[in-house]
Structure formats: structure tokens, C-alpha cells
């Protein structure tokens, strides 16, 4: 009883510390975004802003990759934007628009990740969405492929490994591989403080972006393309 209470307090403290650090990084990014419209659009989409802002941000990113087709990060976040808009259409029971938007979203995410299959950041960003979407989207098989690639890629920073393990465990659960998923959940709980924190999010929606993700994935990806 006492142990579980302590564990709960420790996790809460850890979450608090993480969120404070993350908020600082996010503030820094928001400051940077003032001079970088692509980053600004990405942050708008990442925070799942209201539908009008989301629409403007995705339209802006579409214009960017129409102009520069190699702007893969713009395609990925355009895909994210379309998927968030699809959720909005779904809540309004506009099933046709929702179906079109979600297809468009996954299409551009795939295009970005497949154009440069060895760009681990694009594969990470795709898995970051695919691992958490419902089973009915059928994306868990792609999330498993991407997380398997990320787990064996030496370029991926160690700080991202727990999150990759979480994504793999979620994808295995969605793909009805309960044995593999259980092993990964157990392994995640034993992989340091971050792993312990993430292992508590078993049935939760996608966690907030961590500081490591912001600095190791999003910022470098936008810098490469800007």
C-alpha cells in the first residue's frame, strides 16, 4: 500500500518535472517559430488547434510542399493536420469529409516516410501517429515496421528508445499480438524513469511530445528543410 502510494507520488513528481521541462522547450520553440512560419504551422498542428487554425496551417504546409516537393516534414505534418481535421469532421458526423481527410493524411505521411526510407525522423514521426490511431485504421502493421526499423537504427538517440518501445507495444496490442505486447510493456517499465512513466500510459491517448522528441526530432527536421 505504502509502496504503491510512494510509486504514485514519484510518478506524479516525474510527470510534473517532465511537463515543466517540456514547457520550457516548447516556449523556446514558440519563440523560434515567430521567425519560422513552417515551425509555426507545425506547432499549430501539433497542439491540435481549433479547426480554422488547423485548416490554415495545413493549407500553408500544402503550399510549402507544392513549391518544394522534398519538404518531407511539411508533408508529415500536413498529414497530421488532415487526420486531426478528420477527427473534427467525424465529431460533426460528416463521414464523407472525414474519410477523405483521413485518407489524404495517411497518404502524405506515407509519401514523406517512403520517399526517404532511411530518414529515421520521418519514420519516427509516422510511427508517432500510427501507433496511437484506432485499430480500425489498420495502421498498426506500418507502426510495427517503423518501430522495428527505429529500434535497430544506431542514429536514433537513446532518449527516444522508451517512446519507441511504447509505440511498438501499442502497435502490437492493436495488431492483436498480446504476448509480444506484454513483453514490451514489461521491458518498458524496466527501462529507466522515462520508461516507467510511459508504461503507465498503457490505455491513454498519445502522450504529449517530450523534450527529447521536440529537440531531437521536430527541430532538426524543420532545420533540415528550412
Amino acid at each position: 500500500m505504502t509502496f504503491s502510494m510512494c510509486k504514485g507520488i514519484a510518478i506524479s513528481a516525474l510527470l510534473l518535472v517532465t511537463s515543466v521541462t517540456q514547457a520550457t522547450t516548447l516556449e523556446q520553440m514558440q519563440q523560434q517559430a515567430q521567425s519560422n512560419p513552417v515551425l509555426q504551422a507545425i506547432l499549430t498542428i501539433k497542439t491540435q488547434a481549433p479547426i480554422n487554425d488547423l485548416g490554415n496551417a495545413t493549407a500553408f504546409l500544402e503550399g510549402i510542399f507544392d513549391e518544394k516537393p522534398d519538404y518531407q516534414v511539411a508533408k508529415i505534418f500536413y498529414g497530421y493536420g488532415q487526420l486531426f481535421m478528420a477527427t473534427n469532421y467525424l465529431s460533426k458526423k460528416n463521414y464523407l469529409k472525414a474519410a477523405e481527410s483521413s485518407k489524404l493524411g495517411f497518404f502524405y505521411m506515407d509519401e514523406a516516410a517512403e520517399t526517404d526510407e532511411n530518414n529515421w525522423r520521418m519514420r519516427y514521426l509516422r510511427a508517432r501517429m500510427d501507433a496511437f490511431v484506432p485499430a480500425s485504421n489498420g495502421r498498426c502493421v506500418i507502426a510495427l515496421k517503423d518501430t522495428a526499423y527505429l529500434q535497430t537504427n544506431a542514429e536514433v538517440p537513446a532518449s527516444l528508445k522508451p517512446m519507441i518501445l511504447l509505440m511498438s507495444a501499442r502497435a502490437n496490442t492493436t495488431c492483436q499480438h498480446p504476448d509480444v505486447a506484454e513483453k514490451e510493456w514489461a521491458s518498458l517499465a524496466q527501462s529507466g524513469e522515462e520508461g516507467k512513466r510511459l508504461s503507465t500510459l498503457r490505455n491513454h491517448p498519445a502522450p504529449e511530445w517530450s523534450e527529447s522528441e521536440l529537440t531531437s526530432v521536430i527541430l532538426p527536421a524543420t532545420e533540415v528543410t528550412s
Partner: protein, 441 residues
């Protein structure tokens, strides 16, 4: 027949409203007396109104449900690779499925440019794509399984919109990057035990009659909900299909419009363009290609007509009964009014007015409760079992705000039936013999 009934009903409604308006202007006290007489027996009138309202609400809700079902089926049909308009080489439609590769369009880009440049067609087009249809055998040698397929080569990006209701149940849609990858229907996936990432081999007959083969990786499994389609369909990028069949042509050009209601205008303009540019093509709308849709619509319309008829008969009897009871109870009153010098037609009009007032109240209540119940149903929808030929159920809603005919009918049903039902009681009341009526106990 339906048009005749529509105009007769409109005439009856106009007459009913005219009676109320003229009475309100010339003798407003008659309106007051009508209400007092109607609600003298408040329980009986309440039951009658409830019956009318229930009938009206039933028709309103069922009509909205049918409208939604028609709309959903229509859009599903259009967005399962049918499109709003299809353009073929002349002779394609009459050639039968076996010779489809003999009638192909060789100048797809030119036709597309003509259509998109036209000011009446271009702005209304949501997406336009060439499609190459073919058939063959698909196998997965590792599992020793083979089956027939009907394939379409389609531009990957346009297939997203045109096949937006082909739900991907595993993997992805077609890609512009991985051109060798294909997507397969859920039925084929089961038959071959092939899923995401598996390799399959296809054997086809090219337009010259030779055999071509190709290996492809499955990048996605889709499910439209139409069993026949899911059991045989595969999709691949148009360029890959053209390479497989050694042709640069397309079987048809498919156009998806911004709105289904634009179909006839755009089709007429395309026919004009075909003649103006002397193209050996013919265009068809989704309406003439979707045979199954029309079968379902006809079936539902038959059921709806049957329900409307039953409700109308019940309402006529309910109102007729109430008014007839009023006549019987008020026989001596009627005799007094007649003895005071009121004419037969005036007495008759009083009872017609009662019927019309009941009808108007019934109409208002039907629409009000109909909208209320429809709104409640639309919060979560009603889970429905799969339609005939489909494998997936759907969530049904009541589409009440898109169809003026639904409002018209829900108002017309109580009003017209009430007026018709009041004719016999009114006639009976007006024909009463004064001396006999005074002796009535």
C-alpha cells in the same frame, strides 16, 4: 400518378387554408367556437390529435431515415470508384467485359485538358482520373493459393477521393513513391492469406492477347462493405497497370464532381464537348450505371408508400370518428342553429372548419415532435444491419433538414386527411331535418 396526387393535395390544402383565412376575416367568432367545440370533449380530441401526431411523426422520421439511407447509399456508390460521370470509347459499353481492352481511350491527357479548360465543367470537377480495368489471376505461391481478380489501374492521389469509402483495414492506400505496390480487397486477402507486406503474382492477358505477369507487394487491404467487390478487386497505380498490360491507354475517364446535384448539367456539357471536338467517346452518369442503387431505392420507396397509405387510412378514420361523434352529440344544437336560420352550407362549413383546425394542429405537432425526435436520434444514430449485398452495417440518421418534400408531406398528411375525413360528418350535420333533430335523444 404521384404528380396528380401531389396537385390534388395542394388544391385541398389551398382550399383548407382559404376556409380558415376567410372565416378568420369575416367571422372570427366561428374560429373561437370551433376551438371551444373541439375541446369540449378534450380527452377525445386529445386522443385524436395524438393519433394524427403519431402518424405524422412516424412518416416524418421514416421519411428522414429513408432520405439518409438513399443519400448514404448514393454517395457510397459514387465513392466506391464509380464517380459521378464516366467517359468511354464508343463501343466499350456494348462490347461486354471480355473485350474491354479493345475499346480504350488513347488520348486521355488531351480529353482531360479539354474538360478542365472548359468554364462550365472545370470548376465543378473535384477530381478526374483515367482508369484501366483488366482481369486476371492473382496467386501467392508460398501459400499455394490463386484466385481471379478484377483490377483497376488508377492514379494514386485521385483514388483517395474517388475511393474514399474503400476503407483500408490493414496497411496503406496506393503510393506515388512505391509504384510496384498494390492494394487488394479483403476477400482476395482472405482467399490468398495475403496481407500487408506479402508478395503476390499476377497473370493477365494484354490487349494483343499475350500473357503478362508481374510480382507486387501488398501495401494495403481494403474493404468497401460490398462483398462482390471486396472478393475480386485489386488496385494498382495507373502507370504500373499500363506497364503490365503494355499499353498507354485507359479504359475510362472517371469524374467526381463537387456536388452530386451538378451531374446532369456537367453531363450535358460533356456531351456537347464530345460533339464539338469530334471525339469518339460517350459519357454516362452514375445514375445510369448504378443498377443496384436503383433497385434498393425502388424497394424502399415501395415500403415508404405502403407505410404512408396505412398511416393516412388510420388518420382518416380517427378524425372521421371524432367529428362524427361531435355531430351525434350536437344534433340538437345543430337543429337549434338551423331553426335560427343558419343555412345548410354554413353548418357544413363549421364542421369542415373543425376538421381543418384539427389537421393544422396535427401538422404543427407532427413537425415539432418529428424534429425533436429526429434530433435525439441524430445524437448517436441507430446501428443498422448490413444492407443486401453488403458486409458491414451502418449508423442510420434522420436527414430531416435537406428535403422540402418531407416537410410538405408531413404537413399535408394530417391536413388533407383531416379535411377528407370531415366531409361525411359535415354533410350529415348539414342535412339534418330540423324537426327530427329536435326529437333526437
Amino acid at each position: 400518378m404521384m404528380n396528380v396526387l401531389f396537385w390534388i393535395s395542394n388544391a385541398i390544402i389551398a382550399y383548407a387554408l382559404l376556409v380558415v383565412v376567410l372565416t378568420a376575416i369575416r367571422k372570427p367568432t366561428d374560429i373561437r367556437y370551433t376551438f371551444l367545440n373541439l375541446f369540449r370533449q378534450s380527452r377525445r380530441s386529445g386522443v385524436t390529435l395524438m393519433a394524427i401526431t403519431l402518424g405524422g411523426v412516424a412518416v416524418f422520421i421514416f421519411g428522414g431515415f429513408v432520405d439518409y439511407s438513399f443519400w448514404a447509399l448514393r454517395e457510397q456508390t459514387i465513392r466506391t470508384n464509380l464517380g459521378h460521370i464516366q467517359i468511354y470509347e464508343k463501343g466499350y459499353l456494348t462490347s461486354g467485359a471480355n473485350n474491354s481492352l479493345q475499346y480504350t481511350i488513347s488520348n486521355y491527357d488531351e480529353v482531360k485538358n479539354i474538360l478542365m479548360a472548359d468554364p462550365q465543367v472545370g470548376p465543378k470537377v473535384s477530381t478526374i482520373t483515367g482508369q484501366l480495368g483488366f482481369t486476371g489471376i492473382i496467386s501467392q505461391y508460398d501459400k499455394g493459393a490463386s484466385t481471379f481478380f478484377t483490377g483497376v489501374g488508377i492514379e494514386p492521389q485521385t483514388s483517395l477521393v474517388l475511393g474514399s469509402l474503400d476503407k483500408i483495414i490493414s496497411g496503406s492506400d496506393l503510393s506515388r513513391v512505391e509504384q510496384q505496390d498494390i492494394t487488394i480487397g479483403s476477400g482476395i486477402s482472405e482467399a490468398l492469406s495475403a496481407g500487408y507486406g506479402d508478395w503476390v503474382d499476377m497473370l493477365v492477358v494484354n490487349p494483343e492477347g499475350g500473357q503478362n505477369a508481374m510480382s507486387s507487394k501488398v501495401r494495403g487491404v481494403f474493404q468497401s462493405g460490398i462483398k462482390e467487390y471486396d472478393d475480386t478487386a485489386i488496385k494498382m497505380p495507373l502507370k504500373t497497370a499500363q506497364r503490365l498490360l503494355q499499353t498507354n491507354d485507359v479504359s475510362k475517364i472517371i469524374i467526381l464532381l463537387q456536388d452530386t446535384s451538378q451531374t446532369n448539367d456537367v453531363l450535358a456539357r460533356i456531351d456537347q464537348l464530345i460533339i464539338e471536338h469530334n471525339l469518339p467517346l460517350e459519357a454516362r452518369s452514375w445514375d445510369s450505371l448504378a443498377i443496384f442503387y436503383h433497385q434498393v431505392v425502388n424497394l424502399f420507396e415501395g415500403i415508404f408508400l405502403f407505410i404512408k397509405s396505412i398511416v393516412s387510412v388510420i388518420v382518416v378514420f380517427m378524425i372521421g370518428n371524432t367529428l362524427m361523434m361531435n355531430v351525434v352529440e350536437r344534433t340538437r344544437e345543430i337543429a337549434t342553429l338551423r331553426a335560427l336560420g343558419l343555412s345548410q352550407s354554413y353548418i357544413g362549413r363549421l364542421f369542415i372548419l373543425e376538421g381543418v383546425i384539427i389537421g393544422i394542429i396535427g401538422s404543427v405537432l407532427s413537425i415539432s415532435f418529428g424534429i425533436l425526435i429526429a434530433s435525439l436520434i441524430n445524437i448517436n444514430g441507430i446501428p443498422m444491419p448490413p444492407s443486401p449485398g453488403y458486409t458491414q452495417g451502418y449508423l442510420a440518421f434522420v436527414m430531416w433538414d435537406q428535403d422540402m418534400n418531407l416537410f410538405w408531406f408531413s404537413c399535408a398528411l394530417p391536413l388533407v386527411t383531416a379535411l377528407i375525413a370531415s366531409i361525411i360528418p359535415a354533410r350529415r350535420a348539414s342535412k339534418l331535418v330540423i324537426a327530427e333533430a329536435f326529437r333526437f335523444v
